[in-house]
Amino acid sequence: MELNSRIPSGPLAEKWDSHRFQSKLVNPANRRKFRIIVVGTGLAGASAAATLAELGYKVDAFCLHDSPRRAHSIAAQGGINAAKNYQNDGDSVFRLFYDTIKGGDFRAREANVYRLAQVSTEIIDQCVAQGVPFAREYGGTLANRSFGGAQVSRTFYARGQTGQQLLLGAYSALSRQINSGGVSMYNRREMMDVVIVDGRARGIVVRNMITGAIESHSADAVLLCTGGYGNAYFLSTNAMASNVTAAWRACKRGAAFANPSFVQIHPTCIPVHGDYQSKLTLMSESLRNDGRVWVPKNKEDKRPPAQIPEEDRDYYLESKYPSFGNLVPRDVASRNAKEQCDLGKGVGSTGLAVYLDFGDAIKRDGEDVILRKYGNLFQMYEKITDSNPMVEPMMIYPAVHYTMGGLWVDYNLMTTVPGLFALGECNFSDHGANRLGASALMQGLADGYFVISTSIGNYFGSETISPVSSTDPAFKEVENDVDTRLQKLLQNSSGGPAGKVTVDDVHKEVGRLLWDNCGMSRNRQGLEHALEELPKIRDKFWSSVYVPGAGEDINQSLEKAGRVADFLEFGEFMIRDALSREESCGCHLREESQTEENEALRDDDNYSHVSVWEFKGDDQAPEMHKEPLVFENVTPSQRSYK
C-alpha cells in the first residue's frame, strides 16, 4: 500500500493557498452532473452536504437518526476554537497551530493542522452569518473564554450548548438545500458497506431501519462523516448509536486505518454507579477552572468529604504540577485520577471517583458568581446523582470521550480508496495523539465547510469517472454480502434465548477488556492478554448471541448487534496498534515508557510516525505501514506541566 499524503510543497503558511490554486475546478454548469454521497449529518457531514449542494453538486445525505439534527455533535458543550485574536491576547494562526500540534504530542501533520488554524476564523464568520447565537459581550462583540488549559482566550461558545448551536446552524443550511432539491436526505438509514467499482468508491449499501430493506445508492464520490468509535468501550460519553461500522466497512474494502489506539479519556465525567449504566455523562472541562481536585490522604479514610479536614486532603494535581495545577491537560488529569483510585484512595461507593470541590471558589467569589458560571452543569449533575455540588463536592472519574484515530486520509481528506473521503472525527487527520478541548468542532466544520469543496473539485476535475448505476453487479454483490451478514447475526434466533448471551452482554465484556488493557495506560502484557481474549469473545458472540426479531422490520437489537460485531473485529486493530507503539504519547501512557518521575515518555526516534493499518483478510493479521511525520516548523519538545 502506498501512502501519499499529498502535502503541497512550499512554505507552511502558503501551502493551503497554493494547493487551492493548483487544484482542478469543475465548471459550475457541469457540477450538477456529479452525484456525491455524504454519510452522516454531524458537523462534518451536514456542513459538507450543504456546501457541496450550494456549489451545484447533487448530494445524497444519509443518517442513522430520525432527523439529521440529532447527530452526536449536538452534545458538545464547551466551545469551538478559532484564531481570531479578538481578545488581543497574543493569539494568531501560528499559535493555534502550535498549540494543536503540541497538544497532539507531535503526532499530527504540520500542513493539515496549519490549514485547520487558518480556516478556523472563517468558521466563526460562517456560523455567525447563519444565526448561531454565540455568547456576546455587552458591547455586542463575540465573547471568548479560555478552555482546556489554553493560555489565550480563543474559544467561542453558546452557553453550554455550543455543539448543538453549531449543528443546528449546519442543519439549517442543509435544510435549505433539501428544500431547494440540492440534497436528498435519507433518514434512518444505516450504512452497511461501501461499493467499489474499478478501484473507486462508487456508492454505498444501506439498511432502511424502518422497513429493513437493503438499498443501494450510487454516486461519483462517497464522503464518510460518521463520527468516532468511542463506544467500542461500551461506556463512553458518546451517544448510544455512535459506531465504527461505516469506517470499519470502508477499512475492510481497502481504506487504511490510522492510529486506532489513539483514544482520549476525558477527566471530568460523572462516575459509574451501577452495571445497568448505559453511558457516561461528561461534565464540562471548564469546571476545573474553579474546582479543586482532591482525594483523602489516607486510603482508609471513609468519612464524608465535609468531615475531612484540610490537612487530610491530598490536592494531588496542585502538588504534583504546581504551575498548571488543576488545569493540566486532559490526559494528565485522567491518568492521575486513575492512579489515585488504583492506590485505593478513590471515593464514592465504588471507589472509582475523585472529588472536584467548589468550596474554596464559593468562598472566594460567592455563590452567585459560581452559580452563574456553572449553574446548569450543577443542575445536570444533581439530576443524575441527586447531590448538589454547591453543598457537597462533585465526584468525577475519567471516561472515554474522543477518538483521534480514524480513517487515514491525505491532505485532500481522501482515504486510500480513490473517491472515498473521510471528514470529522472519523478521520485521523489533525489531532495527533491527543485533541485539545474545543478543537473537534473546529475540525469537523473546517473539513465540511472549507476543505472538502476544493478536494472534490480537484478529484472530479482530474479524473475521468465513468457512469455507474446502482444496478451494477458490484452493488448486487455487496448487497448479498450485507444480507448474508444480517442473516448470520440472526442465525441463533430460531432456537430461542435459552443458554445464549445478549448483545449487551458481549458489548460490556469487550468494553471492559479494552478499558482495562487498552485504555489510559497500557503495557505489553495486558495488550497481549487482550489480543488473546478478543477472539474468544468474538467466537462467543457469533456462536451464541441471541438477537430477537427479524430483519424485515424495525429491529433495534439487530442494529446494535451489527455495530457490536464490528467493534469486535475493529478492537483487534486498536490492540495491535497499542501494542506496536512502545512509547507513551498524547492520551496514553505506555507503562514501559516513563520518565524517572513516572511521567509519560515520548520516543521521537522510533515513533514519530502515523501507524497506518491495512486490512488483510478476516483470518489474517493486519499489516502496518508508517507515514513518517516531518517537523519543519516546530521542534518537538517533551511536554511538561510541572
Binding site: 456542513s47 450543504a50 450550494e54 437518526h65 430520525d66 432527523s67 439534527r69 440529532r70 449536538i74 452534545a75 479578538y86 464568520d125 460562517q126 456560523c127 455567525v128 452569518a129 444565526g131 447565537p133 454565540f134 455568547a135 456576546r136 459581550e137 455587552y138 458591547g139 455586542g140 462583540t141 463575540l142 453558546a158 452557553r159 450548548q161 448543538q164 443546528l168 439549517s172 443550511a173 435544510s175 435549505r176 433539501i178 428544500n179 433518514n187 451517544a239 451501577g274 445497568y276 448505559s278 453511558k279 455523562t281 461507593s349 439530576k383 443524575i384 441527586d386 465547510y449 472549507f450 434465548p497 445478549t502 449487551d504 430477537p548 426479531g549 422490520d553 424495525i554 433495534q556 437489537s557
Partner: protein, 251 residues
Amino acid sequence: MSSIDLTLKIWRQKNNDSLGDFETYILRDISTDMSFLEMIDVLNEQLTREGKDPVAFDHDCREGICGMCGAVVDGVAHGPDRETTLCQLHMRKFKSGDTIVIEPFRSIAFPIKKDLMVDRSALDRIIQAGGYVSVNTGGTVDGNSIPIGTETAELAMDAAACIGCGACVASCPNSAAMLFTGAKISQLSLLPQGLPERKERARSMVAQMDKEGFGYCSNEKECEAVCPKGISIRNIARMNREFLRSLLLGE
C-alpha cells in the same frame, strides 16, 4: 441507593398499519439511581432473555440534548420532572409499587413507527420551509461586524435551545407545533441575520406547519410546561407578531 418494584403498562404496536395495545410488565429491584431509559433497557434485556420482542424506543445522547428520546409517562410528555427529557428522568422520582403507563408521543403529524417510536420528520419539514438564513458558505463578513447586544443574544439563545423532541406537540390538546415553530421563528427574528427574510419565513413555516396537520394554539400552556428546555410561550407570541407582520406588510 435503594431499589423499587414497578408495574409498567407500555403501548405496543408493531407498525404504523397495525393496531396497538397496552402490555403489562413487572420489574423488580430497579435501582433508584437509574435513568428512565436504563429502566427500559433492563426491561428489554429481561424481554430478550424471555424470547420476547423488546420495546422499541428512540434515544441517542442520553444527556438531554439530542431530542431523540421521549414518551408520555402517566399522561405527561417526558414524565413528571420539569425541564427534563425522558433520558434525564431518574427512577428516584417513582415509588415502589407504582404503576407507570408509557405511551408514544401521539399526533396526527407523528405516525407511530413501532411501540414508542414515532416519525417526527414533520418538524424537519417545517425547518426546511424557512428555518434558516439563506447564506452560502464563504463570503461572509467578520463575526464582529454584526454587533448583537447581550440581551438579544440571550433571548435568541433561549429560543434556539429547542431540541426538537416534539414534546410540545405531544402534550398539546390540539397537537400544535406552535412552540417548536415559534422558537425557530423567534430566534431568527431576534437576530439581525434573520431580518431580511423574516416575512417570507413566518409565512412559509406556518403554512408548512398547517400542512403537516399540526393544530392551532388555544393557549393551554401545556407545551411550555413539559418543554425540557423551558422554552417560553412568549416565543409563540413573537411568531404571531411575525405572522401578522407578514400578513400586513408582506407583498
